[in-house]
């Protein structure tokens, strides 16, 4: 049985855990406010909120219900637009109507849910962040003008109406952003959490999030006995032990993005990860799934390669480790046995004299797969490189570590000529193909540009842009 709360209703179902949440909501529960527009996480019409007990409070996040296995709802609070509706419109809803934020209305519930999720999540409100939280919702009618104004108006309503000594949830309830049944969710979840049994089963199909797997082959997953591992607490968490950073394989990209630990070591961390997918995708996609998915253009893997990460695999009690750069054997081919799962990924904390940079170019700036991406990690003293790792995505059948380029740069002192030579070497290491993201020629050009951008940004005193001409 899968037990969870859907809006104000306790659910117990023995439906297969691999069917997607969207189908359960629309077809089983007839809650038709949640829409199906693309079934691959690119439109956001099916957005719902997922509330989870974290350290004694309920944390909500927006997710694409079309890509989420029902089993992952176990022990959670699922909120659709019907679960936000009250007698009168919530401020988010009212301002959306008043500002012309809805026209045909098909994408509208998704926007309402995402924006409500923003208010549930965040007490430090500003319009830019609110719009950022809508990055996974597309609208073809409104041009977003009314929606952006509604975000700004709703923030004003909250700021002007909130009581300073009330807690955030109480403020949201009293200002009608959410119905008052939200108040009791925590207690109800505590009961469910203790009751529910893990839906994990031994299975050949391992689903860790599923944001890409369900796009590739949802029909085959729905019929399978999938092993859902993304809710496995043993696989979660981001921590530092000594000089080693550990990221559990079930950590989501959004957890990694917002990790204070990682932000401390990489000051622009949040900016880099802004360009990854959309918020609802980042909320579900896990690092383990991302690594095993082996997309040659994966953004997170690209960064991890440049951090010279190690993948830790386990099969029951058997454990082994392998450097990420040696993990990929060929297109979608891994050094991983059938029953092995990724336990965690680790890398060393950046040393004092280290620098890091990430670059990504895509057709559409946001919510798009990269055409080419690249990361660099370099340790240096007075411009002399002692240790360097560079990765390049979208230019080979695997997420590529630029071995020869790194070897060339090791123990070299950075100057314009060296960088030019290194770029030439990097272009000999890659084997781009022409595909939907661009031609081979164009990708080579882009990689060189990104390569230069790395070193101009990291060593502005040592690399002279004018001389690179």
């Amino acid at each position: 049985m899968i037990n969870f709360i859907l809006n104000d209703l306790n659910i117990s179902t023995d439906l297969p855990p691999t069917i997607v949440l969207l189908d359960f909501i629309r077809k089983e529960k007839m809650l038709t406010g949640t829409k199906e527009g693309c079934r691959e996480g690119d439109c956001g019409a099916c957005t719902v909120l997922l509330g989870e007990l974290v350290k004694g409070t309920v944390k909500y996040k927006s997710v694409n219900s079309c890509l989420m296995p029902l089993g992952d709802a176990s022990g959670k609070h699922v909120v659709t637009v019907e679960g936000i509706n009250q007698k009168e419109l919530s401020p988010v809803q009212a301002t959306m109507v008043d500002e012309g934020g809805t026209q045909c209305g098909f994408c509208t519930p998704g926007f309402v849910v995402s924006m409500t999720g923003y208010f549930l999540n965040c007490s430090n409100l500003n319009t830019d962040d609110a719009i950022e939280s809508l990055g996974g919702n597309i609208c073809r009618c409104t041009g977003y003008g009314g929606i952006k104004r509604a975000a700004s108006d709703s923030i004003s309503i909250f700021e002007n109406g909130k009581s300073d000594n009330g807690n955030h949830l109480e403020n949201l309830i009293s200002l009608k952003f959410i119905p008052d049944y939200f108040r009791g969710i925590k207690k109800r979840l505590e009961k469910i959490s203790t009751n529910h049994k893990s839906v994990e089963k031994k299975s050949n199909v391992i689903i860790s999030g599923g944001t890409d797997l369900y796009v590739q082959r949802w029909e085959s997953l729905v019929g399978s006995k999938g092993n859902l591992i993304s809710q496995n607490k043993k696989l979660s968490g981001i921590s530092r032990i000594g000089k080693q950073i550990n990221i559990g394989s079930a950590a989501t990209i959004e957890e990694i993005k917002t990790s204070k630990l990682l932000q401390k070591y990489f000051p622009k961390w949040n900016n880099y990860l802004d360009l990854f997918g959309s918020l609802p995708i980042r909320n579900r996609a896990t690092i383990g799934g991302n690594i095993v998915n082996a997309s040659p253009i994966g953004d997170m893997v690209n960064i991890l390669l440049a951090l010279n990460s190690t993948v830790h695999l386990k099969d029951g009690k058997k454990k082994r480790s392998i450097l990420l750069k040696n993990f990929y054997k060929g297109y979608k081919s891994l050094d991983k046995k059938k029953n092995e799962i990724v336990d965690k990924i680790t890398f060393l904390t950046p040393s004092k004299n280290s620098l890091f940079n990430f670059e990504k170019i895509s057709k559409r700036t946001y919510l798009d797969i990269a055409s080419v991406n690249s990361s660099v990690y370099a340790e240096s003293k007075s411009g002399k490189i002692s240790n360097i790792h560079i990765s390049a995505g979208g230019v080979a059948p695997i997420p590529l570590y630029l071995n020869n380029t790194c070897n060339y740069l090791k123990n070299k002192t950075i100057d314009t000529e060296t960088i030019r030579n290194a770029a030439e070497i990097s272009l000999k290491e890659i084997s781009p193909i022409s595909d939907a993201r661009g031609s081979a020629e164009y990708k080579s050009l882009l990689l060189r540009q990104l390569f230069y951008a790395h070193f101009i940004k990291l060593f502005p005193q040592l690399v002279d842009p004018e001389k690179l001409l």
Binding site: M30, T32, G33, K35, E36, G37, E40, D42, V81, L89, Q93, V97, G100, T102, Q103, C104, G105, F106, C107, T108, V112, I131, L134, G135, I138, R140, C141, T142, G143, Y144, G145, L213, V215, Q216, E219, N293, S295, P296, K332, I361, K363, R364, T365, Y366, I369, G394, R420, A423, E424, L427, S434, D435, A436, R437, E441, L445, R448, I456, P465, L469
Partner: protein
Amino acid sequence: MKKEFSVVGKPIIREDGFDKITGRAKFADDYKFDGMLHAVMLRISETHAKINSINYSEVENDQAVNSIITSADIPGAKKVGMIKNDQPIFCDEVVVTPGDVLAMLVGEDTTRLRSALSKIKIDYTPLPTLTDPQKSLDPKSPLIHPELGSNLIIHHPLRKGNIEKGFTESDHILEQTYTTQLIEHAYIEPEAVIAIPLGQNGIKIIGSIQNPFSARKIIAAVVNLPLDKVQVIQAQLGGSFGGKDDTMCILSARAAVAAIKVNRPVKIRYTREESILESYKRHPYILNYKVGFKSSGKIKAMQIDILADGGAYCSMSPFVTWRSVVQATGPYEIENVHTDVRAVYTNNPYTGAMRGFGSPQPVFANESLMDEIALQLGMNPVEVRKINGLKAGSITATGQKLQNHDVNLLTVLDTATKETDFQNKWKKYKKDKSIIQKYDFNKPVFNNSQFIEPDQLIKKGIGLAVSYRGCSLGAEGIDAAACYLSIQNDGTIYLLSGLAENGQGLRTTFSIIVAEELGITTDNIFYLETDTSRVPDSGPTVASRATLMGGGAVKNAAEILRTRLEELIRAEWKLKAAEKIIFKNNLALITNHKSPITFQDLCKLAANRGVNLATIGWYKSPNVDWNEQTGQGDAYFTYVYGCQVAEVSVNQGTGEVYLDKITAVHDPGTVINKLGAEGQIYGGVTQGAGYGTLEEVTTENGLIRELNFDQYLILTAKDIGEIKPIIVEGKEIYGPWGAKSLGEPTLELTAAAISNAVCNALGKRFFNLPLNLEEILLGKKLRPVEVKRGSLL
């Protein structure tokens, strides 16, 4: 004197806002009926093939399959079309494009039905394909519809003045070729329809249907029933933009055939992939322009040759290209014009109506051309447009004299350029150093490396475009619309127009018109469900004609009922002719009378006196005329004008175009629904910006590569910068209080303005839409070879 309005032009919120914002609004896929079955489509992955036989024996006894629906089940017309009946409901003889459907399986579970599809054995012979429209008229090319004898769908000539003389008198001649791409409507709601059999009473259809009356006509022909036995109800429509017309007519007809056969409700609901695969798109155009002009900037002659790829079916191609031939010169007065517009058949996905309807393509060409003329003469873009722009009394390319309305082209141009400080910025950005000219991206990719610090790579640019647009259908066809209006005894009102809500806010606009006319508020008006059995056929909701034509009918109905109420008051109080009655603030105010009567009391009185307070309003457009041989005549009875200014930043290193700000100045006549009008501008500009920079459906031998939103990219909230709408309300004698059109005018010129802005930034002109990364960096599109779903790249 300008009329003082109570409701018109005020920000009135949508009448359907509550239902939509709470998710209660029911879209077609949200309906479920007892005993309802689902249908899935049988297709082959071929572009052009003769079907020899289809063997269903493997699925005949399949538990999942209740019924197999083939063309043998069609009681009536097996081929349909908006203009030409060239599109089969089921293509079981020949497939002419990959979206074609051969047959359907009907059953309870779509997943099981889909797996049953693979068991059907289809024997077919691939035929030679034709995918290059430039080869369509080559006698060696295969004929897409052999029975028609030619691949020419339509040819619209236009001849004005003496083209040779015009070129002879010119100081300069410029010739350019422009191309525009195939694009998808990308409504977020995929197609869905349910057919419910009613036995002797025919059939009821509920669907995501843009034009219920068009659908009714086609369904009736296919199932061989009279019109009164086909009831079409429009569910809430999740976006259309011209796209839920032909496809939905055919889907409705298929569902109807199946429902009648199995005698149970049947639903068809497309996945996004099926939607993009089968639905029609915007025509790609190849546009050749030759223009002759004096050193003063005055254009003397323009010769235009346009080829439109109509794809596998005729659809709306003749009308789409007709608008192109009328407007191809742009809003300029030119003595000598010689235009040929042709649409041809190919095996590509078929093309038809889409917001803009044959105008975004020529606007991109002629507005690029105007900037080129300016650059060649050392003028700025504003000057050359002022010299040639249409003014009151100007004669258009079709020989029509512009009158009876404010010809506000130069007004919108001035407003937009002043608002944006256009001329100063344009000069400054043009002077700023651009590296892209000396940086030859085509050749030495691996040669002597050139690189500039990232910040210096960002260059700013500003560009503008203007356009004019004929309102409503023009000489395309009969142009009239109806409205049903009924006042209840308590003063509440039922309203229903024959035009359909497509999400644009038509119901709100029409409610405002009634409220204004009767002096009441919109919350007393209940807009009825759009149903072909309740209101007269009013033609399609297309051509930005809803406010003008439908609104005209609504105003007519409201006037009729107001007149009856006035007559009642006059009789009841025995008023003199000089005494006036004003309907305002929910009251009827009578001059010299102390106490006004409330609208509610008045309606009650009318009921007691037996006054008929229900009526059908009607609005018929003024006559237009057209000579098909010469392309001369009064093409449309009135026009609207717009100017947009795009401000962009271009990354010269990567080819990324950032849309910083778009200022959109439009004259739609009087604005009825302020919130709706501004919404049209935001939405139209964003669609137009996507057309200019990002959107493209590409095909490989007719097969579409971008079948979902991971590949077919539209702008997100984060990708579009500030949009500033400015409305100039010009005077107009037609339409409700002089209200005209806005939906399409907002979209047609954005791409041209962006292209001109990018040119201003880089000093390099682009001739092919969209201006994506590769177009900007390499000056050419490099087509992908293969596309897989998800990350399987």
